[in-house]
């Protein structure tokens, strides 16, 4: 009786199994391999804790561990200091600078931190523009970029939006009546803030802070470019690339990185779980706002503009660097030129074409996988389907360095037929790494898109004679197209500047993408100009991509609002 109906699920089930195999092969196995090797005696291959003991007995690793932890915590603190006043202004006051603050929340995200790192050194380093001016005018300098300070400075400027966005959202979602109820019962001022506003906003803050922590903790590019090597991710990278893939320390560090990633994901989940504090009811939303007095307004604007300058400084610095001839011991470059761009386009265009190819392929695979997983999870009753979602999302907890090391270890002995090369050094492995790394984001986008499609629209198609696959093709995919496209663009934009996994997997210069090119150029003083020019190109990629995906999402949101009666899905 049930047999013929279940034959309908044979297709999705097959697809689900193929995806599961892909995830196991390119996500689960590499990570498990890394963990396995970390607990393996390098000589005998037996299970052991000796690698961890060695790790914690080596002073360099102790220092690296402490430094990574310190940098991550300090970056969270600095990012908090930047975010809290901004979030507070927009939610508490009728502040006309809200648009600036919104922009502030996006600008840093369109440039990965390592791209701006060198430019920041030229602006804020001990011989950078700011310190030269300070020294000339006031006779002192500030060590913004000395050692770990530099990493903290660059990372917090780049990652504070995660806190700002989450905190603002949490504050906006607090209904005015929450505050009014407290006032009605006799609470006011700081007490009201401490007992009502703060606890209600806390989950959003913690979720954002956990994200910043892990982004900084895992980041490889920024410390490398700032030449700060005594941190965990750079150590893992250096051990594997200089000593070789048999050195156990890289694996031990990977296990620590994965452990902390899982921990902070768990913390942010815990913070948000069961605390859906979206208390907004119909009518009034957000906290009580009041107008600013004149002097307060000046204070607010000064602070916002100061932060804006800070946030824009990597972009400005990079821009100047890409057009400057020589910029050393000077406030600004000596002269300006187009040479770096000409250099880049004449001799380094393969970086750009490679990036277009890799990021394009990865983003395409991501949306195909995302759509398929979303369909299997949301529209079929296949047993264990949720694990596809969990599996794909688990990539969030795997730092790029770890994935890179895992691929090297697992696939260096797997020869690809026909081209006679190990899989680990074939360019396709870079595409696969990018696909896995960006899949969680594309998947969320596709899931959200499919959730917006009422099941009734599919049933209506089946009812008038369309099979499941025809329904997917003619109804589901067209209706999801906005979300799929947004997912594609986001994946593409972020994949085009990904460094941490790529840097380990690039086998030859001719296979290298943009991010790797920037890293290579930035190594030498003479390469900084072209490196910056590449950086600007990368920023344009990501900026354009972000803008497009924003537009697409807005447009499909509007289209949905225009067709309310069709999409209100009363599922029986």
């Amino acid at each position: 009786m049930a047999q013929p109906i279940s034959s309908v699920q044979r297709g999705p089930a097959t697809i689900g199994i193929i995806i599961a195999l892909f995830l196991i092969l390119f996500l689960a196995l590499p990570v498990l391999k890394v963990i396995f090797v970390a607990f393996q005696d390098p000589a005998t291959g037996e299970f052991t804790f000796i690698n961890f003991v060695d790790f914690f007995n080596t002073s360099l690793f102790q220092e690296s561990f402490f430094n990574s932890f310190y940098v991550a915590i300090m970056s969270v603190l600095v990012a908090t200091l930047i975010s809290v006043p901004l979030a507070y202004f927009t939610t508490r006051f009728n502040f006309s600078g809200a648009l600036i603050i919104q922009t502030l929340g996006i600008i840093p995200l369109i440039m990965p931190p390592f791209v701006g790192a060198v430019a920041m050194q030229l602006l804020f380093g001990s011989n950078g523009s700011v310190n030269l001016l300070l020294d000339e005018w006031f006779g002192f300098t500030i060590p913004f970029m000395e050692g770990l300070n530099g990493v903290i400075f660059v990372e917090s400027i780049h990652y504070f939006p995660f806190i700002l966005i989450n905190l603002s959202a949490a504050l906006v979602n607090i209904d005015r009546s929450m505050e009014e109820a407290a006032q009605n019962l006799g609470s006011s001022g700081l007490r009201l803030f401490r007992r009502i506003v703060f606890p209600l906003a806390m989950p959003g803050y913690v979720a954002g802070a956990a994200l910043v922590f892990i982004k900084v903790f895992d980041d490889l590019g920024t410390p490398l470019l700032l030449n700060v090597n005594n941190m965990l991710a750079p150590q893992a990278f250096l051990r594997i690339t200089s000593i070789g893939i048999s050195d156990p320390m890289g694996y031990v560090i990977s296990v620590i990185l994965v452990g902390f990633s899982l921990l902070s994901l768990y913390v942010s989940l815990l913070a948000l779980k069961g605390k859906d504090y979206a208390t907004t009811q119909k009518g009034g939303g957000g906290l009580m706002k009041r107008d600013l007095r004149f002097w307060e307004k000046i204070g607010c604007y000064s602070l916002v503009i100061f932060i804006l300058m800070l946030v824009l400084s990597p972009h400005i610095g990079l821009f100047l660097l890409s057009f400057g001839t020589i910029w050393s011991y000077a406030v600004l470059p000596d002269a300006y030129t187009f040479d770096h761009y000409i250099t880049v386009f004449s001799s380094a265009s393969q970086y750009i074409t490679n990036t277009l190819l890799y990021a394009g392929l990865a983003a395409t695979f991501d949306v195909i996988l995302g759509t398929a997983i979303a369909y299997v999870v949301l529209r079929t009753g296949i047993r264990g389907r949720k694990w596809l979602d969990y599996g794909a999302t688990a990539a969030l907890a795997v730092p790029g360095v770890v994935l890179g090391i895992g691929y090297l270890r697992l696939f260096h002995s797997v020869d690809v037929p026909l081209i006679d090369k190990p899989l680990a050094s074939w360019w396709v492995i870079i595409v696969i790494a990018l696909t896995i790394r960006r899949l969680p984001y594309a998947l969320r986008s596709c899931m959200a898109a499919l959730q917006q499609v009422s099941i009734m629209l599919e049933e209506a198609a089946e009812n008038v004679g369309a099979t499941k696959s025809r329904t997917v093709w003619r109804i589901v995919v067209p209706l999801m197209s906005g979300g799929i496209l947004a997912g594609f663009v986001t994946s593409f934009a972020t994949a085009s500047v990904e460094l941490s996994a790529t840097i380990m997997l690039v086998a030859t210069e001719s296979d290298a993408p943009l991010a790797f090119g920037i890293y290579e150029y930035m190594q030498s003083a003479s390469g900084r100009g072209p490196g910056a020019a590449l950086g600007i190109i990368a920023v344009l990629f990501v900026g354009f991509g972000t803008y497009m995906s924003h537009r697409i999402i807005e447009r499909s949101k509007r289209a949905r609002e225009a067709s309310v009666p069709v999409t209100e899905g009363a599922t029986p």
Partner: protein, 361 residues
């Protein structure tokens, strides 16, 4: 012009059961729907009526039992092989397609030649009177127009059965009455076997030839609207199809005559073959009300009581009367100049004996 010609088929449902996990939603449904009949599933929400409709269309978990359409067993067929047209509660028009594309979709899936598709789509749109809106998008249409397009999209495939899932619930009151008539007219014209799901007894009464009242996954009674109203098999059906007075009590023999004595002590002569009668029911419009107590006669039973509640509804005045501890509802037709009895007033009631029905529960 091409005409829409459906080949209507009867529907036979035998021992149908269906569960969502451990929740048994349909518990053994047996039902015969004749070819060309307009049949309603009436019941409160959660009664299983929509689930039953969806099972006929092939949606939801695989049911146990049989569903025969025109004699063919379809319970094992996927939805797209059943050729039963369904109109969804919220219409489910595809927002990315124009009206014409929406209507032609099913024909395209049947690989029908383009000229014929165009002719049949025109015919279907013409039938619902919206041919001139063919190039619009669903979002540009009003609720009533969307409803008609959903109908056109369904009848264009010439289904063997038309299924309507609360099709009027998203329309405003005036439009609802109009659509109700239009749907009935369309059904008559096409001689289409139609199943209509609703929770509104007025809708079911006015539109259907016969109906089934469902509650808790079980068919309570099947019949024409008049049969169900006048001869409900149980309290649920009696209550669901209109306001009713229910008096619990038991039969008594007094001096060779059988009377029904209510818990409050009122006795009503009872000449029907008394089996196991536990309560009697009668509709509020079958009670007459007057200022003074009226005497019982052979055909009517008198009671007296006090007005505890009064609602003036325009065409009638509805009273709640306390008769020795039991509340009896009375609908008194209102004419200009009629006396309205105020709360607290003593009144006499007269119940027509032949309007009293007996129930075993």
């Amino acid at each position: 012009m091409t005409k829409i010609e459906t080949q209507a088929a009867g529907v036979s449902i035998q021992g149908l059961t269906l569960s969502f996990g451990n929740t048994h939603v349909l518990k053994g449904i047996d039902l015969e729907i004749k070819q060309g009949e307009f049949f309603a599933f009436l019941g409160p929400s959660g009664s299983g009526k929509s689930t039953l409709l969806r099972a006929i269309a092939g949606f939801g978990p695989t049911p146990g039992g049989k569903i025969l359409i025109g004699g063919d067993e379809v319970a094992h067929l996927p939805p797209w092989k059943r050729n039963v047209g369904m109109v969804f509660q919220s219409y489910a028009l595809w927002p990315h397609m124009t009206v014409r594309q929406n209507v032609s979709f099913g024909l395209e899936e049947r690989k029908i030649a383009t000229p014929e598709i165009n002719n049949r789509v025109d015919a279907a749109l013409d039938m619902v009177g919206l041919l001139d809106l063919a190039d619009r998008r669903p979002s540009q249409l009003s609720g009533g127009q969307q409803q008609r397009i959903a109908l056109a999209r369904t009848i264009v495939i010439e289904p063997r059965v038309l299924l309507l899932d609360e099709p009027l619930s998203n329309l405003d009151a005036n439009l609802r009455v109009q659509m109700r008539r239009d749907i009935r007219e369309l059904q008559q014209k096409l001689k289409l076997t139609t199943i209509f799901v609703t929770h509104d007894q007025e809708e079911a009464n006015t539109i259907s030839d016969r109906m089934a009242v469902l509650d808790q996954g079980v068919i309570q009674q099947i019949g024409t609207p008049v049969e169900l109203y006048d001869k409900p098999h149980n309290l649920f059906v009696a209550n669901f199809l209109g306001t009713v007075n229910v008096l619990a009590g038991e039969l008594h023999e007094t001096g060779g005559e059988t009377v029904f004595r209510t818990k409050g002590g009122t006795t009503i002569p009872f000449d029907k073959a008394g089996k196991d009668v536990r309560s009697i029911i009668f509709r509020p419009q079958n009670v007459r009300i007057s200022d003074d107590p009226i005497a019982s006669n052979g055909n009517n039973t008198a009671m007296s009581g006090r007005v505890i509640h009064m609602e003036f509804l325009g065409s009638i005045v509805r009273y709640a009367i306390d008769v020795s501890g039991e509340t009896i509802l009375v609908d008194d037709p209102h004419h200009k100049g009629n006396k309205v009895h105020q709360v607290g007033a003593s009144v006499g009631l007269l119940v027509a004996n032949d309007q009293v029905m007996a129930l075993g529960i």
